[in-house]
C-alpha cells in the first residue's frame, strides 16, 4: 500500500484503475448521485462512509453496472462503461463484488458457488477450478466447508465464501457493499480479518462500511458521502481526528 498523494483531478494515468467524472444518477425523481468525480489508483483501499441514502452504495453499484448511471463518465481499467454488453461483461469479470446479504446461490454447494463463474465465464477446466476453490477456501479459513450448502453455514462463514467466490474470478478490483452490516457482532471480525489480509496483497478495494476501526487500520483514503456528493475526501487519520467539513463532523459525532 502506498501513501495517498494529492489527487490530480480526473486526469487518467496508467496508475488510475477507476475514473469517475461528474457521475449522476436518478431513481425516479430522487437524485442519488449529484455529479460525483473521483479517481482510484491501482492497489488503493478506499473506504466510503456516509449516512444511509447518501449514494455511497449507488456509486459502487454503478462501477460494475448493477445500476446504469444517467450522466457523466465511468471508466474501469481503461474501458468506458457504455450500453455495450460485451464491455459490461468484460468489466464485471474484472471486478469482484461482495454484498451486504451475501447473495450466495442456495441451490449450489460452497464449492460449486466458487467454481461456477470461472467455469462458465472464463471456461476454466473443472479440475483447475476445483483446485483454485480449495486454495481460496483455505485462504478465507474454511477449507472444511466445501461440500456444504450455504444455509448450513453461519453468516460470517457465508460472507467469507462470498469473498472467495468473487476472488475466484481473479479480479483486479473488489467492491464491498456493507459486507458486515448483516452479521451478528461476534462474526464481524472474521470477515474484516479476511478483508484486511486481502488489502495487504495489494488488491484495489472500495469498501462501503461503518466499521471505523477497519477504515483507520486499512484504508488509504476515506470518501465521505452526503446527499449524493462526495463532501470530504482525506486520509483516515486526518478524517477521523480533524474532519474539515461541518457535515462530516456531525456524522462522526453521531456514530462515534
Amino acid at each position: 500500500m502506498s501513501e495517498p498523494e494529492a489527487r490530480g483531478g480526473a486526469l487518467e494515468t496508467a496508475d488510475d484503475i477507476i475514473v469517475a467524472q461528474d457521475v449522476k444518477k436518478w431513481f425516479g425523481r430522487f437524485q442519488a448521485l449529484r455529479g460525483v468525480s473521483t479517481t482510484i489508483r491501482r492497489g488503493e483501499v478506499v473506504v466510503v462512509i456516509g449516512p444511509s441514502g447518501s449514494g455511497k452504495s449507488t456509486l459502487i453499484r454503478c462501477i460494475n453496472r448493477l445500476e446504469r448511471h444517467d450522466a457523466g463518465m465511468i471508466a474501469v481499467d481503461g474501458i468506458e462503461l457504455t450500453d455495450d454488453i460485451r464491455d459490461i461483461h468484460r468489466i464485471r469479470s474484472e471486478i469482484g463484488m461482495v454484498f451486504q446479504s451475501f447473495n450466495l446461490f442456495p441451490h449450489l454447494t460452497v464449492q460449486q458457488n466458487i467454481t461456477l463463474a470461472p467455469r462458465n465465464v472464463r471456461g476454466v477446466p473443472k479440475a483447475t477450478a476445483d483446485e483454485k476453490a480449495r486454495e481460496l477456501l483455505e485462504r478465507v479459513g474454511i477449507p472444511e466447508q466445501a461440500a456444504k450448502y450455504p444455509a448450513q453455514l453461519s453468516g460470517g462463514q457465508q460472507q467469507r465464501v462470498a469473498i472467495a467466490r468473487a476472488l475466484a474470478m481473479e479480479p483486479k478490483i473488489m467492491l464491498f457493499d456493507e459486507p458486515t452490516s448483516a452479521l451478528d457482532p461476534e462474526m464481524i471480525k472474521e470477515v474484516l480479518d479476511v478483508m484486511a489480509e486481502l488489502a495487504g496483497t495489494g488488491m484495489t478495494m472500495i469498501v462501503v462500511t461503518h466499521e471505523i476501526g477497519f477504515a483507520k487500520a486499512v484504508a488509504d483514503r476515506v470518501l465521505f458521502f452526503d446527499e449524493g456528493s462526495i463532501v470530504e475526501e482525506s486520509p483516515p487519520d486526518r478524517f477521523f481526528t480533524e474532519p474539515q467539513n461541518e457535515r462530516s463532523q456531525r456524522f462522526l459525532s453521531q456514530i462515534l
Binding site: 453496472r65 448493477l66 469479470s93 463484488m97 447473495n103 463463474a117 465465464v121 450448502y149 467466490r165
Partner: protein
C-alpha cells in the same frame, strides 16, 4: 433465593453450564381405548358427530361393497379389457405397444434406482405394498386369460426390477445416459408405433391413447410454459405482449372450446398441404392449454427469487442465458414442484376430454364398447376407467411428494 427479581448485574455469570441434561418426562403411549375416548367421544357434540358419521359410513360402505362384490357384473370389463387398454389398435400389431411399454418400464426402473426415490422401507409400508399388490394380482387373475398375457406382464415386472437394480448399481454416473435415454425413448416409441408399416394415429385408442397424449402433452407444455413465463418478463415488448396474449387468452377459455377450435379452425390456419391428424390437433391444443398454466406457475416461482441472486450472477459476469439456466430457473422450478405436478395430474385427467372429438380414448371406449353385448349397462366399465385414472394420478401425486422431500433436504 429471595422473592425479589435479580438486577442484571446480580445475575451470576455462568461460564460452564453444570446443570445435568434433563429429559422430557416420558409420555405413556395411549391405548386404543384412550385414543377412542379422547378423539371420538370427548364431548356430547363430538359423540353425536361420531355416531352420525359412523352410521353414514356404514350404510354407504355397505351399499358400495355390496354393489362391487354382489350386484356388479365385472364380465363387461373382462370381455372388453383389450379395447379399454388399446382401443381399435390392430391385434397383430400389439407387440409395438408391449415393446414401448417395456422401454418405458425399464427406464422408469432405472430412474427409481438412480435417484433412490422409494427405497424407504418400513413395516407399515411393506404391509401397504403387500395389500395393494395382492389386490392387483387378484384383479389380474380375474381379468386375464391365457398364458401369453401373463408371460408378457411378468416380463414387464422383471424389466422393472432389472432397471432398479442396474440403476442402483450405476448410481449417479448413470444420470446423463438416463436423461439421453428418456429423450431417445420418445423417438423410439414413435418409431415403434408408426415405423415399419406401423399403425396410423387414428387407430390409436383406449388407455394407451390417454397415456400417450398425457406424456407428450406434459413433455412439450413444460418447456413451452417456461419459455412463455420468461417471455412475459422479457424487456422486448413484442415478446412480452405475445406471451401475455397467449397466456391470458388460453387461460380464459374452457379446454373443450379449445379442443373443438383445434379440430375446426386450426386446419384453416395451417398452410395448405399440411394436414394434421385429429389426435395431433388435440395434442397441440392440450399442450398450449397446459403451457399457459405452467407459465403462470413458473412466473410465481420466479417472483420468489430474491433480486440479490440476479445481482450476484451479473456481478460475476454471467451472461443472461447462463444466469437463467444455472442460477434462477433451478431455484424457481424447485419451488414450483407441488403446483407443477398438480397441473400435470390435471392435464392427464383432461386427456379424457378428447372423447368429445370422437377419439377412442378410455372414457370413450368404456362408455361405448359395452353397449354392443352388455345391453347398455356401463356402470362397471366407467368405474373401472375411473380406477385406472385414479391409480395413475395418485402415483404422480405420491411421486411428487417424494421428489419435494428429496430436493428440500439441506439445500435451503
Amino acid at each position: 433465593m429471595s422473592g425479589r427479581p435479580l438486577l442484571p448485574e446480580e445475575v451470576p455469570l455462568v461460564l460452564e453450564d453444570a446443570r445435568p441434561v434433563e429429559l422430557a418426562p416420558p409420555r405413556p403411549p395411549a391405548t386404543l381405548g384412550e385414543w377412542i375416548r379422547g378423539n371420538l367421544f370427548s364431548s356430547p357434540f363430538n359423540t353425536v358427530l361420531t355416531v352420525v358419521a359412523g352410521v353414514v359410513i356404514a350404510l354407504g360402505g355397505y351399499g358400495v361393497l355390496r354393489w362391487i362384490f354382489v350386484s356388479a357384473d365385472w364380465q363387461v370389463v373382462k370381455a372388453n379389457l383389450r379395447v379399454f387398454m388399446i382401443g381399435r389398435f390392430p391385434l397383430e400389431e400389439t407387440w409395438r405397444i408391449w415393446a414401448s411399454a417395456y422401454l418405458a418400464v425399464f427406464l422408469a426402473g432405472l430412474s427409481v434406482g438412480v435417484t433412490g426415490i422409494g427405497v424407504r422401507r418400513t413395516a407399515a409400508g411393506a404391509a401397504r405394498w403387500l395389500i395393494l399388490g395382492g389386490l392387483v394380482v387378484y384383479a389380474l387373475i380375474f381379468l386375464l386369460d391365457g398364458l401369453r398375457v401373463w408371460v408378457s406382464i411378468a416380463a414387464g415386472a422383471a424389466l422393472l426390477g432389472i432397471g432398479i437394480a442396474v440403476g442402483r448399481a450405476g448410481g449417479r454416473s448413470l444420470r446423463i445416459p438416463l436423461a439421453i435415454g428418456w429423450i431417445a425413448s420418445f423417438l423410439l416409441v414413435i418409431l415403434l408405433l408408426r415405423g415399419f408399416g406401423g399403425v396410423p394415429p387414428r387407430l390409436w385408442g383406449g388407455f394407451v391413447l390417454n397415456l400417450v397424449v398425457a406424456v407428450v402433452g406434459i413433455s412439450l407444455s413444460f418447456p413451452a410454459g417456461v419459455l412463455l413465463a420468461l417471455g412475459r418478463r422479457s424487456s422486448l415488448p413484442v415478446i412480452r405482449f405475445f406471451s401475455i396474449g397467449v397466456i391470458e387468452i388460453v387461460r380464459g377459455v374452457p379446454l373443450v372450446t379449445l379442443l373443438i377450435f383445434g379440430q375446426f379452425v386450426l386446419p384453416l390456419l395451417l398452410p395448405s398441404g399440411v394436414r394434421l391428424a385429429p389426435i395431433l390437433r388435440a395434442l397441440v391444443m392440450i399442450t398450449i392449454f397446459a403451457a399457459a398454466y405452467v407459465a403462470e406457475i413458473v412466473r410465481g416461482g420466479l417472483q420468489g427469487i430474491h433480486h440479490g441472486q440476479y445481482e450476484a450472477a451479473r456481478a460475476l459476469g454471467l451472461p443472461a442465458t447462463r444466469m437463467m439456466l444455472l442460477i434462477i430457473l433451478p431455484q424457481a422450478l424447485r419451488n414450483t414442484i407441488p403446483a407443477m405436478i398438480g397441473q400435470f395430474i390435471s392435464l392427464f385427467k383432461d386427456t379424457s376430454l378428447i372423447a368429445v372429438l370422437g377419439l377412442n380414448d378410455l372414457l370413450d371406449v368404456s362408455r361405448n364398447a359395452p353397449r354392443l353385448e352388455f345391453s347398455g349397462d356401463v356402470k362397471e366399465a366407467l368405474l373401472a376407467a375411473a380406477l385406472l385414472f385414479w391409480i395413475v394420478a395418485y402415483s404422480m401425486s405420491r411421486w411428487s411428494q417424494r421428489l419435494e422431500r428429496r430436493l428440500g433436504v439441506g439445500e435451503r
